[in-house]
Amino acid sequence: MRLSHFDYYAPTTVADAISLLQSKPDAHVMAGGTDLLIKMRHAGLKLKTIISLKSISGLNTIAFDETKGLTIGATALLADVAIHPDILKYYPTVAQAARGTANVQVRNMGTVIGNLCNASPAADNAPTLLAMGAEVHIQGPSGKRTVPLDQFFKGPGMTALEPAEIVTAVHVPRLTPHSGTAYISLSARGQLDCSAVGVATMVTLKEKVCEDTRIFVGACGPTPIRVPKAETIVRGKELTDDLIDQAGVQASAEATPITDVRASADYREKMVAVLTRRVLSQARKRASE
């Protein structure tokens, strides 16, 4: 099936891209195109105008700074995030999530930010970035702003972006000392398939006590969701196996999965408990290393 007809623009600056978006309200931004073009070909999405971000120089930058942390630009490829030495060293679960997205070909075209902006509840790159307290850098007609990633997702396919705004980068702070992260997702066909359920966490330890944690569940609600009551169970307490089990049960109670083609609600609910348990003990291990 062929793509329906559209006009194509490839501005070379973010400002030009924003002006184009303002002058063509029905235009759609495209980075890697691996989601957008599929929606146009197979899901009946008809667009009159596509504005590609790929010709904007510098937007594909992956930058790491010892104090500032990690910045991933809007057109940085999943494949490059997956093998970046600083990301592998300081943000292993960010690299793991990128590597676990789709297949080689799609990772060579698609972007982390594209995965976020599509705002699929199952987006593979979202849970771990949410757990690490990432924020998105947005540029639009009224200037620049920064939005915490946990306020960015508004519903399936919906984000906090206002008309003519573009996400230019995602920023991930450095992990505090004695912190560890973990992300596990399940899908019917290995990593190729969209995740049926996924859980990510960040744990900060002080001796054996869980000083802080953030736990996010993917594909079990209209957006990736935080499970605050499960966090409360472990926060400020010695992180024992027993407490981790309780947090898993609580996370499962807080998740609101539906039954769809990828898994049943019942299976998802059960797996949230299992995965929460596993990520918490993995993150505990990494935090104490």
């Binding site: 062929r2 490839a10 195109g33 691996t34 070909r41 080689v104 070909q105 190729l192």
Partner: protein, 164 residues
Amino acid sequence: MKQIIELNVNGESYTVAVNPWQTLNEVLREEINLTGVKLGCGSGDCGACTVMVDGRAVSSCLSLAVEMVGKEIMTVEGMAPSGEELHPIQESFVKKGAIQCGFCTPGMELTALNLLNNNPSPTYNEIREALAGNLCRCTGYKKIIEAVGAAGQKMKEASERKTS
């Protein structure tokens, strides 16, 4: 409106008139007649349309032709440029019986090239993971994985001979 663009495919330059909605797959097959590039699912799942762009395996069904200006594109036809000697990967596919109907073969071989360029001695599981985005309807995966392993070995020996 059609744009006149220049595409560099297999080391040769082609001037083509394309619409923005034409994919690289359509242009390679229909304008440049490189029909070694296949079209399967059209959604980046099957890998039949795989080509190399600037040394990376990508899905040509999800690439717009207008975005390919200034890039080096390689199709299966460019793997053995002389037309006489096969590329070690191709030779290995023939020898190991890794080809059945042949529809997935061009994509498999280019994805294998992408892997072996980055990792000359992949393990069995690394090969499986790298080829995860290439489906074989004849289900001849075992021979394909063996062929890629053998090709890697051969390419490594050839490059060691070259440097010694």
